[in-house]
């Protein structure tokens, strides 16, 4: 993996909402670069704009202005069909609340992104098995999410995010709903993906200690603006993030 190549580059990205008379500047002129294979953590307090920036990078939302270049392609210029294709093939996502489909079992949940990516049926079973094996859930294939613990659900979500072999893993507060031991387990898995597969990781968190332990680059946001960015050792006291 070429560590000098830009995986993500945002150029003066703004995301403003109108709420009645007021304009809310959720993201306000953020320019940030994340290299390929990097493990970046977006840090900030609640309402700092980190999740909004994450949604913009995920192609779930569109910026009011500015550019978001992922592997050189500007998401802001893509049609909704192209964005769907981008989410299908380039991005994998994990959420704080896991977001597994409750009516599907684990195998079906992990298979779901492959349906959208039109992966051949004959390939799917093996890829489901591989992904669940990687997160050590091979024995829970036929269980529904409600039959699993929080940690297991997040591991299943991680398997689902990886099954289409994305170049970019976006994790929005992945440990937010987990106890510290299970959270650590998940973070180790994410780090393992970063180191073994070279997947670029962007993680949203408000826990500075977690970010410093696993990420090799911290980006601090506050009031929709970027306050500071750098390696954990060199930083930073911005944003009131503990």
């Amino acid at each position: 993996m070429d560590g000098n190549t830009n995986a993500i580059q945002t150029v003066d990205v703004r995301r403003h909402y109108r709420m009645g008379e007021n304009v809310i500047k959720a993201v306000d002129g953020v320019s940030v670069t994340i290299k390929q294979g990097e493990f970046a953590a977006l840090l900030g307090t609640s309402g700092s704009g980190k999740s909004t920036l994450m949604n913009l990078i995920a192609g779930l939302d569109r910026p009011s202005s500015g550019a978001i270049l992922v592997h050189g392609r500007d998401l802001a210029q893509m049609s909704s069909e192209e964005l769907a294709k981008y989410r299908r093939h380039t991005v994998g996502m994990v959420f704080q609340s896991f977001n597994l489909v409750p009516t599907m079992n684990l195998a079906e949940n992990v298979e779901l992104p492959m349906r959208f990516a039109e992966v051949d049926r004959s390939e799917r079973d093996a890829r489901v098995q591989d992904a669940l094996k990687r997160v050590r859930l091979s024995a829970r294939l036929t269980h529904r999410p409600s039959e699993l613990s929080g940690g297991e659900q997040q591991r299943a979500a991680l398997a689902r995010a990886l099954v289409n072999k994305p170049q970019l893993l976006l994790a929005d507060e992945p440990t937010g709903n987990l106890d510290s031991r299970t959270g650590e387990e998940i973070m180790n898995l994410i780090q393992e993906l970063n180191t073994t597969l070279g997947t670029t990781i962007v993680m949203v968190t408000h826990e500075r200690s977690l970010a410093e332990r696993y990420a090799n680059r911290l980006i601090f946001l506050g009031d929709g603006k970027m306050l500071d960015a750098g390696e954990p050792a060199t930083t930073l006291t911005a944003g009131g993030v503990q």
């Binding site: 769907a84 294709k85 989410r87 996502m93 489909v101």
Partner: protein
């Protein structure tokens, strides 16, 4: 997304809310069933009438009348002040002209009159009976005018033979009246044997030319000379050769009302006075020979009827044929089918609201799931297609179930109606028919209505903002 994945996911989603989706599908099924039941009834009725008219023999015949006697709407519209001079007389000249037209097989008058008939039942003295006599051409047998017939047909065109209706046969045999009309109207073979071969005496009034031209003192029409005729009472012995249960020609022709049938050529030879003769005499010009109220022109093939009818119309006569009847019938049944179809579709329209409601509810319930799907790479079109397939699946299932249900309802209505008819002593009929086009049409309509109902929910689901949807609890 590939088609099998779409179908599989749609199937999963439908199974997840099985009760609600089943009830919605049942709603569609009831809608389709009402449509199928209504239209099958319309088609069935059309068939019953069509069959009756088909048996009338009118498909290959043109009824011709003088415009004075039979003015149709077109005549009234185009010539509201028709003068008697414009009107062609339906006389022997016209009859001969019709006979010479290409494609004409025969031309004969419709003869029907009341007469006295005398008959002696087994071991009893001869008694008078009064009934309507009607004349039938030899072709009546070939065109299957008779249904429920016992005996033989006229052995020749001018033979002294008679066919009697079963009702009248009962009267002749002095049997009690058959009050149960729904039961077999014809005589039993044993009773028919008691009648067939027996002699029936017809007493009738013969019209003979009168030589007496003496002025009676009144102001006689100078041009009317030779139009006097005498009435002579005559008798004719007829041999009964057959008994028929159902009125000939499906009961729709004037001659169908006869109780005793004799050959047309025999009737013509007898110069029977008909009630209409006096009217014809008053109207006809002096030059006219024998005149007719109506003539029946029979074509060799039904396809020649229109050409013959047009030619005769062009000659200045009024005509009526099955072409007109079938046109009117088709128009009436088109309206009936349309009415029944609209009525039947109302239930389907209500069901379509059910589909819309179910899918809108599904969007609300599956809002987060839609957000997840979009986050995992589903496009707006994928989401739209998924909802469409769900609506379509409910339409297909509802269509199949509804058609089967409509078939059953149709049968039940038919059965119930026939039970009622039997109790009312009316012959039963099959009022219900489900043609293949109705099956295919109902299912297609069901799917189209379902897809139509899915349009709004599908596009609403596709437009969901994934960020908002993912925040939904």
């Amino acid at each position: 997304m590939k088609t099998y994945d779409l179908v599989e996911l749609a199937g999963r989603n439908l199974r997840e809310a099985v009760l609600r989706n089943s009830l919605t599908t049942l709603g569609i099924a009831v809608g389709v069933a009402s449509l199928v039941a209504m239209l099958s009834l319309g088609v069935g009725l059309q068939q019953v009438f069509g069959k009756k008219l088909g048996r009338s023999g009118l498909f290959d015949t043109v009824i011709v009348a003088s415009k004075q006697d039979f003015r149709n709407d077109e005549d009234r519209r185009t010539r509201p002040n028709m003068q008697s001079g414009d009107i062609k007389t339906l006389d022997d000249n016209a009859r001969h002209a019709f006979e010479k037209l290409p494609g004409v097989a025969e031309v004969y008058p419709e003869i029907r009159l009341p007469a006295e008939l005398r008959f002696a039942a087994d071991g009893k003295t001869e008694r008078p009976h009064f009934a309507t006599i009607a004349a039938l051409p030899a072709s009546a047998n070939a065109s299957e005018a008779f249904e429920d017939y016992q005996g033989t047909f006229f052995s020749g065109p001018k033979v002294d033979e008679a066919i009697v209706m079963a009702e009248f046969a009962r009267e002749l045999l002095e049997m009690p009246e058959n009050t149960k009309q729904a039961e077999n109207k014809n005589l039993s073979p044993e009773d028919a044997k008691r009648l067939i071969g027996k002699e029936l005496t017809l007493r009738y009034a013969e019209r003979t030319a009168s030589a007496d031209s003496k002025n009676t003192g009144s102001n006689e029409d100078p041009g009317g000379a030779g139009f006097r005729f005498s009435v002579v009472r005559r008798e004719k012995k007829l041999k009964i050769i057959g008994v028929v249960g159902a009125e000939p020609y499906g009961g729709v022709r004037a001659v169908s009302r006869g109780r005793v049938f004799i050959p047309t050529e025999l009737a013509e030879g007898l110069n029977l006075i008909q009630p209409s003769d006096l009217r014809t005499m008053m109207r006809a010009p002096a030059s006219a020979g024998k005149t007719y109220i109506t003539l029946v022109v029979r074509a060799n093939k039904p396809t020649q009827v229109k050409a013959i009818q047009d030619t005769i119309k062009g000659m200045g006569f009024s005509t009526y044929s099955m072409q007109d009847a079938s046109k009117t019938l088709t128009r009436v049944f088109t309206f009936l089918d349309m009415f029944l179809g609209i009525f039947g579709s109302l239930a389907l329209a209500v069901a379509s609201l059910g589909i819309m409601n179910t899918l809108v509810m599904a969007i609300l319930e599956r809002r987060r799931e839609i957000g997840i799907m979009k986050a995992l790479g589903a496009s707006d079109i994928d989401v739209k297609k998924l909802f469409f397939v769900e609506a379509g699946a409910m339409g297909v299932l509802g269509g199949v179930l509804g058609t089967a249900l409509g078939w059953i309802i149709g049968r039940v209505i038919n059965f119930g109606t026939n039970v009622y008819l039997q109790r009312q002593d009316i012959p039963t009929e099959n009022f219900w028919y489900v043609p293949w086009w109705l099956v295919v049409g109902a299912m297609t309509f069901s799917v189209l209505v379902s897809l139509g109902s899915g349009l709004y929910p599908a596009s609403r689901a596709a437009k969901l903002d994934p960020v908002q949807a993912l925040r939904h609890d």
